[in-house]
Amino acid sequence: MKKSKGISYAKWGYIFITPFFIAYVIFTLYPQILTIYNSFFENYREGLKQVGPNFVGFGNYVKLFTPDKTGTINILKYTGNTLALWIGGAIPQIVIALLLAIFFTSYRLNIKGQQFFKTVIYMPNLIMASAFSMLFFTLFSNVGPVNQLITAAGWSEVPIDFFAYKGTVRGLICLMNFLMWFGNTTILLMAGIMGIDQSLFEAANLDGASSVQTFFRVTLPLLMPILVYTVITAMIGGLQMFDVPQVLTNGKGMPDRTSMTLIMYLNNYLGGSKNYGMSGAISVIIFIITGILSMFVYRSLTKKD
């Protein structure tokens, strides 16, 4: 690494990393500090009238945690929604991905056509989430093909209004999130399994371990760091859930805001009223949650060295 040469190259290191840090400070760090600062002020637009900025201390935070009469301000509810929507997609996502990763890497099973299957299941991950969501809306709308099929087959006399019930709206969102992410997770876990020393599997096999025993005693413990990393990054991703529910419910989180996520709520304050106080407070809360989660990621990444 270190070679004692006449010329010092150190300055080039600084020169090369400078653009990154300048861009970071201008476009992320400064806006971030401004967001935190704003969260302590009352600052919004009401029609043509500008209110504030007036210092209110923790007023915005108190307001966020105090449900109002109309039921629109209730951050605990939206945190709960986000969590429910994430879990509904993430559990099948991780379970199925783990299963598929084991299938694909098993010499005994020797699955053919892997490249095809991988190409198909990864595809939804690259598709524009808002367009995917709009597609699901048209497919499941009252006059859409799914309802046409349901009425034609005689399963129901009248079309089912998928967007009127909490269960069906949430179910569709979870289904889309599952479809968009399980292929990605499969590929990550496959790489993890293939990174495990093959001789361990051979040894387990020689010792007469069944495939179930091998999975629980060898594969799973060694896969743990990657699994933890996958789960936590998925959680941070889930916290940012926006495009799919926003487009599917037209920003309303219907019915009765039961599918409104944290970022959708943030977007509500930023969109029309430019309420920098309330949106700032929401951002800080999301920031704290991610901060805690990312500490776990960082630990899972550095533990191995």
Partner: protein
């Protein structure tokens, strides 16, 4: 004993075959689940509004070109303009993100300097912070300094992309040993030129993958653009798709709606069909520390 053994192995073989059938069944089911909505999209984009109203079918309707013409020339949703805007933003973002991430990674990989470890740890620490949590401040700045409806505000932040940086750093560690760097550089020569003319070409596979990923990410981005791009002629494709959703739905020619959605995802789909192998390889290469 011999008999027992062969019976055992026959039983094991039958079990394996049964397991294999089950696994293929699961894989085919999941594949259909993934493809079905897109199949319906293509079918429905080829059917006229009347055909779509008439009922469900899995057979194309033969009106693809009519729908394309109607969608392309729609008065309220200017999709050609949206595609152009999205393309400009995504292409420039991809180039900036990839180039500066490689440059930053090389700066930390190839040189020893006092703040090196601090800089690296810092980038790793900010890697997982979602961009949405600084959006409020960013939007405020853009409105304050009249920077809304300005593509640069969506492109320039791409210079600082911690995830891409991490990918490049990992790639350099595995394929760009310091001996090669030492050999490539001529003492006292311009290090910047060494990077551009010698190091970058050696990074081609990593650069190609990251160009694609950052292009796709920017192409699909909806949250921040929807807050900043308010003028009709500045809107990107995802904003237009969301607009479709909020428009009075019943008045729409549904064939046209499906065509809009198809146009929004088609560019990425085509790229994926041709490059799926290397894209899938790129998913793992940088994200997991091996």
């Amino acid at each position: 004993m011999d008999y027992n053994n062969s019976a055992d192995s026959r039983k094991a073989k039958a079990q394996l075959t049964a397991l294999r059938v089950l696994v293929y069944a699961i894989l085919i089911f999941l594949s259909i689940l993934c493809l079905f909505s897109f199949y319906m999209l293509i079918i429905n984009a080829s059917r006229s509004n009347g055909q779509l109203q008439a009922g469900f079918t899995l057979i194309p309707g033969g009106h693809m070109m009519d729908n394309l013409k109607n969608a392309w020339t729609d008065a309220s949703i200017n999709i050609p303009r949206g595609l152009l805007n999205s393309f400009m933003i995504a292409a420039l973002t991809a180039v900036l993100t990839t180039y500066f991430s490689a440059l930053t990674a090389y700066g930390i990989h190839a040189y020893d300097f006092k703040l090196k470890n601090i800089a690296f740890t810092f980038i790793m620490a900010i890697m997982v912070i979602p961009s949405q949590v600084s959006a409020a401040g960013f939007v405020q700045i853009c409105y304050k300094y009249n920077l809304t409806n300005n593509f640069l505000m969506l492109i320039l932040p791409g210079i600082a992309a911690p995830v891409v940086f991490f990918y490049m750093k990992q790639y350099m560690e595995s394929t760009l040993p310091m001996e090669i760097v030492e050999a490539a550089r001529v003492d006292g020569s311009n290090e910047f030129r060494t990077f551009n003319t010698i190091i970058l070409p050696m990074m081609k596979p990593a650069i190609a993958v990251q160009l694609i990923f950052s292009f796709v990410q920017s192409w699909n981005n909806y949250f921040l653009p929807s807050l900043l791009l308010t003028k009709a002629e500045m809107k990107t494709v995802p904003i237009m798709i969301a607009q479709l959703r909020s428009a009075d739905y019943s008045k729409f020619d549904m064939g046209k709606v499906y065509m809009f959605i198809l146009l929004a995802i088609l560019p990425v789909l085509v790229v994926y069909i041709f490059l799926s192998r290397s894209i899938i390889k790129g998913v793992t290469a940088g994200s997991v520390k091996g």
